[in-house]
Point group: C2
Amino acid sequence: MTSPEFHNKVIYENSRSFGTVFKSKCKETFFPDDPFHELKNEPCARRTRKVIKYFIPIFEWLPNYNFGLFKYDFLAGITTATLAIPQGISYANLAKLPPIIGLYSSFVPPLIYAAFGSSKNVAVGTVAACSLLIAETIGEKVSPTEDLKLYLSLVYTATFFSGLLQTVMGVLRLGILIDFLSHSTILGFMGGTALLICLQQLKGMLGLSHFTNKTGVVPVLHAVFSHRDEWKWECFVIGAIFLVVLQITRYMKNKKPKLFWVSAIAPMVVVVTGCLFAYFTRAEKRGVAINILFKGINDPSIQLLNFDPKYISVPLKTGFITALVALAEGIAIGRSFAIAKNEQIDGNKEMIAFGLMNIVGSFTSCYLTTGPFSKTAVNYNAGCKTAMSNIVMSVCMLLVLLFFAPLFSHTPLVALSAIIMSAMLGLIEYEKAYHLFKTDKFDFLICISAFLVVSFVGMQSGLMVSVGLALIRALLYIARPASCKLGKIPDTKLYRDVEQYPGATGIPGILILKLGSPIYFANCSYLSERIVRWIRDEQEVTESSGNVIEYVLLDLGGVTAMDITGVETFVEVRRNLETKGIKMILINPRRDVMEKLIVTKFIDKIGKENVFLSTEDAIDACNFSLNSSTEVKAEDL
Amino acid sequence: MTSPEFHNKVIYENSRSFGTVFKSKCKETFFPDDPFHELKNEPCARRTRKVIKYFIPIFEWLPNYNFGLFKYDFLAGITTATLAIPQGISYANLAKLPPIIGLYSSFVPPLIYAAFGSSKNVAVGTVAACSLLIAETIGEKVSPTEDLKLYLSLVYTATFFSGLLQTVMGVLRLGILIDFLSHSTILGFMGGTALLICLQQLKGMLGLSHFTNKTGVVPVLHAVFSHRDEWKWECFVIGAIFLVVLQITRYMKNKKPKLFWVSAIAPMVVVVTGCLFAYFTRAEKRGVAINILFKGINDPSIQLLNFDPKYISVPLKTGFITALVALAEGIAIGRSFAIAKNEQIDGNKEMIAFGLMNIVGSFTSCYLTTGPFSKTAVNYNAGCKTAMSNIVMSVCMLLVLLFFAPLFSHTPLVALSAIIMSAMLGLIEYEKAYHLFKTDKFDFLICISAFLVVSFVGMQSGLMVSVGLALIRALLYIARPASCKLGKIPDTKLYRDVEQYPGATGIPGILILKLGSPIYFANCSYLSERIVRWIRDEQEVTESSGNVIEYVLLDLGGVTAMDITGVETFVEVRRNLETKGIKMILINPRRDVMEKLIVTKFIDKIGKENVFLSTEDAIDACNFSLNSSTEVKAEDL
């Protein structure tokens, strides 16, 4: 390999210091969106103003706010409020809380979110999955029917912890944690939860008075069928009618998106109809359960926060799980609507906004809120322009709490059950699961195991199993990065995977391998075994044609990272190849890899003459050297 | 983009079925070494014979074994045995077991390993780290001084579980799990353990009779200094002399590897000297502790295995942890010596061999054994050729057990302490840690946290912390794969990272990005944010020169895997770019990625005319289209 013209292009002198590399890695890890990009080269006062605007987005949009925008937000806010009332009452019921807490939770948190939230589309409210999770985890320890005060205090404490965790995660820019909840995990988890919640509603739909406290499919179905004597056909008929009406409006919305308002106000219509019906038929006397609601706004609940070591583990655990689930839902939904409008939202800022609203919520008799899908979709479809729609919704709720709350006292449970059921049926997205099955079997496996474990074992186990599977999948990728053999595509200077491009042909005496990324401790022994296998397979083919492998070219163009074990493996592979009389050549190491190879002195060991910028250069150099050695041999004869 | 000649080379019709892909993935994951490669095209009888030979390697080498090889193995076996006796007694002491168990453990397991092991260099025996782990975890539950019988039965049960787990892992080909114990983890863990063990030896070195049961640095030092009145200077002087002698022989070996035998027999010399010294000075009467050893070979211990639910969790946990630690040490050492001799060893086969020898060991009064570093190095240096050296060692141990065991009864504890200390000092490899610090700060962090947590908190926590950190590192890589902007290197047709090759220049109106691998759920939102940032940064630069970006070229050549969320992100990115009037173009998707893009119909969406085989083709096509549109505009004027 004596002709230097082939490899004079590789640059070695461009290594960065540890500080530079560390800073750049931290930036990529925690600030991938480069939030302070606009602050560069600004005077101090303006910079401060920009930072404030950055952290409290209301200062950004409020000064430019005008009546033209308000018209849209007003309409959106009112529409969302009509949905917020029945949803608030229903989900509070699901969380085994007094229904008024559900209304409280749509009053304070939206105000906080309007100030700190970065999304223009998210409408704040309670969510079904977290409500059930709260009932499941806190209900395990304290029964809401036996000691409501303690139960309430633990719910507020859990909300407080959720908010704290969300804020801290946002400040520490740990949005990266949310990234590990994959779409398939969420799909399966949501589907399973929706199934559980639907089954729970059989209590209301059938008018049962005895039911189970468990949430699994088996105990709930058992409870339903073992109390067949309690089934009330009046209840069931009313519930079924409500459900059919709600499903039809939903179907209409899907067919004609302009009719979204029909499905948005349908729950309100169901509630009002149910109220009137119950009032005039005095249904409560015939066993149709109703709710009691009083006038008045949120009481302070800060004095109820309970940090008693005897119970602390329950709200801590509940807070941790619900915080993550709520964030995953809120951020995913914010992101998808932002993309539809071609805007950017900042996950970390969203976390802070969600966190603050939950902390304040826990002080003012609210339980866990986030950006639920149904409300946000209504808000978006109703044409919201800014977070002002949340303020409008909050004012509507204030009016309801001050004047109209008792009117909803007569809402029969069956109406709420029908509303919840209808919302949940939309969350069992079997078409998406089928799409997963067709396109990615492993993702489907993750999704279906989340679904099954949630349905039959429990929500927490389901979440853990599916996050675990997703992590294993990611780790498996790291443990077995794909490598391939390259060949030359005829009539070009391109070298590509010979299995992908069957026309590509090898070069006698030379084996070109493209390695996968990263080269890490977890795949090093695999990698060295795989290289040995590539060589063995190649030798079997070439032996018949009388050629022997003289060069192994490792194309590192796709390798973005390498650790110290990786470098050690290269040393071993090289020694191993040398004993077989094969030379190892590196092609196009990328920046991080090159820096590691230089700092560990591997480049000195292998020699700069064995590192090339492109496969073509390397092949030319190898052929040059192969030919000259053949010539020497020929001359010797 | 109307000129079809630029993109007629990409092949789309080469997709594999799910079955093929699944088979190939499983092969790469569980059979990367392709063990049955040689069985192809063989008749049935021969194939059976080969399979037997594959699983029981002794059938492979024994038929060709001859006296020439035996000479070497005999010498190596005897040398290893002289080390096995003092090590066996010392490590049994460390595990708080009767010293004879240490000798038993060098008799039965080597015989099993000789039959099933695939390495020619490994010499089987007990190891210090696992001995201390056993004492720590089982000692927590049952005190060996108070109820030795129960303690022993739990140790055997833990050994049985270790063996079972190792065998099962080998059969299921889960060698992949060992891959996740990185070199830096093992380095830090071993260093911390060695420090703990050294400190434990202060009891013997100072002749203390009161000591702590804890293993942490703080309680041990506290115990040593709070019993200053018990320090025996005679003990300390003798111990120090022994230690210095041992360290000198070790130093000699390192300087002149041919003198390895001096350091190999030095522990035996120390033991014999110690015995004679203790015998003639009647040292035991002056408080120098000694051990009691009886004649006779291993008793059966299968009846002692204890599956009582009251205790079962202890041996289960101990078995699990020690199995992994023992495998990591045994396989790593086997591999490194195999590489030195340019042989291949099979990690999964090794696991089965280790597992079987521990199962049989637990039936015959042996505790956990593996391939320890010290013994294997001596075996290798003594010139062993096959696993026969293990058989020779085992026969030597048999003779010792039958005839000479009582002679070692007088071994003073201080001699054993000096032997252990000397062995452990060699395991605190601060040069390697310094090398890590210089070459890879994160690996150093993993190493040092393992070291510190092991020293100050405990061995189990240390192992967990460092494995956790290593996993986080791997996951962080997945979460933030590096992407870079490509530019054209002058006078070539090569496109490379503009930061790595500052001479590389961009093409007006075109932004070329090389994406890192994989494109997974865990990095999708990062990826789309990063692409937006690349575009923004590029626009800021080009705006001043009056250019606008019309094309974004994504070079996928380095991307080896993509999941369904990745494809969805591409859909979003494309929609986002389109609203900005930018066209998205893909370059050189690799096989797995192409298959995913086809099955999700993304290729149909983006159009085959926007996928190219090389950056050059794509640039030519873009320029062609840019020029023709400029011409059209010019004509319009």
